[in-house]
Symmetry: none
């Protein structure tokens, strides 16, 4: 059972299409010592009979894989969420190489997740919005064609390189709060803004929500900081002074 | 046409069995800018109709691949031959990680080759004997199951890290906003919290203000983000909907 001090990243596959690719990802993981896989809404359900043969013996990874309906639920307990994407325009999050991400995982307190999108399309904007940072493999600009298992293996490989040399994490720093606490803060603020028509007009509401989410995801606030922010919001909601 | 000063390693596949794996290796290579493939006695001859589909567009690598009857002939023009193997007993050659091998390729004069064995069995002792050094991927000792294309991609990836792969210009992230904009945000929020007695009792006010400041300083919000937060605060200050 991974403890909260487990420095190994969780591999999260979002809406994977083929069982075979889930198996290959498991095989890629185990080669470099990663064992915790989470699946978000796998297209063909789970378990998938095509996964086992492709895993080439990495059955224990598949057997322990957990399924979640949404990415938010899959990373609810993770302090450091990294979304893998090809280079995108207009991204306002830090972009790391697999090497830099591996380093970040090793030194950051709290559990980490590497999130991978579906085979064809990759992660959607709303998935990426949940992440603090982006991982992009620096690739031949004239031919970028990494498949899912290859992307997984490069990230797992980089993580494993420093794993043996790793320093104990800095326990004096509180880790970023689990994702679900951040979700609570975002929901709280949105509920306050709704009656003020902050999300009006409707046509821009989605973009506005995403902007707000990015903005509140960026800090990596810890448990205490999130609690303070919740307190700030509650204070602002009060009708008047609490000394009345 | 690669010149004698080309620093890119040649990928040599010795007696590969499946055309599909040759295609996957080509795809792995081109992702990281490698284009020169040599085949030693491919089991099913060459060209192989299964290779193209698996190459996922890396046809130019397959089209330029050269076939040789022996490994000695395939690497005849190479100054630096590296044989990839799993860890072997009784090897009397230097053993490098893919990272170390990539470095060696970049600094060594003359052309270099990375040599990979057949899918099932790997390189034979006589093949390894031709190499100056061995490349072994440090792998989970309890589960070593890298396939051919995965071994190729890890070596190609490491090589590419030090090569100057031309990347499309990176859209630079906006820097954190000037301090005065951050001060404006803090002052705005404090002014809203003051009448709600957020800073009461007085004896704790200083600590509370410092906590709030730390929390809002941590994100490093840029100019646009600060402006958005100011908009959020203004919306919360509104008496009701702005559509009245």
């Amino acid at each position: 059972m991974p403890s909260s001090t487990d420095r190994r990243p969780i591999i999260v596959l979002v809406r994977p299409q083929l069982g075979e690719n889930i198996g290959k990802a498991a095989r890629a993981m185990l080669n470099f010592g990663l064992t915790e896989m989470r699946l978000v809404a796998p297209r063909d359900g789970w378990p998938n009979p095509s996964a086992g043969p492709a895993a080439a013996g990495a059955d224990k990874v598949l057997g322990a894989a957990k399924v979640f309906p949404t990415l938010a639920q899959a990373v609810a307990d993770c302090a450091n969420v990294f979304a893998t994407t090809v280079r995108k325009r207009g991204v306002t999050k830090p972009v790391l190489t697999p090497e830099q991400a591996a380093h970040a995982v090793r030194v950051a307190p709290g559990r980490s997740a590497f999130v991978f999108g579906p085979e064809r399309s990759g992660l959607e904007t709303d998935d990426v919005a949940l992440a603090r940072a982006i991982i992009t493999v620096p690739i031949n600009p004239a031919f970028g064609s990494l498949n899912l298992a290859q992307a997984v293996i490069l990230c797992a490989y980089e993580w494993s390189k420093g794993a043996v040399l790793e320093q104990p994490p800095r326990e004096d720093l509180l880790p970023p709060a689990p994702q679900e606490e951040l979700e609570g803060l975002i929901a709280h603020l949105e509920a306050m803004l709704e009656p003020k028509d902050y999300f009006f007009p409707e046509i821009r509401a989605e973009v506005t929500r995403r902007t707000l989410r990015s903005l509140l995801t960026k800090p990596g606030w810890n448990h205490l900081e999130i609690r303070t922010m919740r307190g700030v919001l509650s204070a602002l909601q009060r009708k008047g002074s609490r000394r009345q």
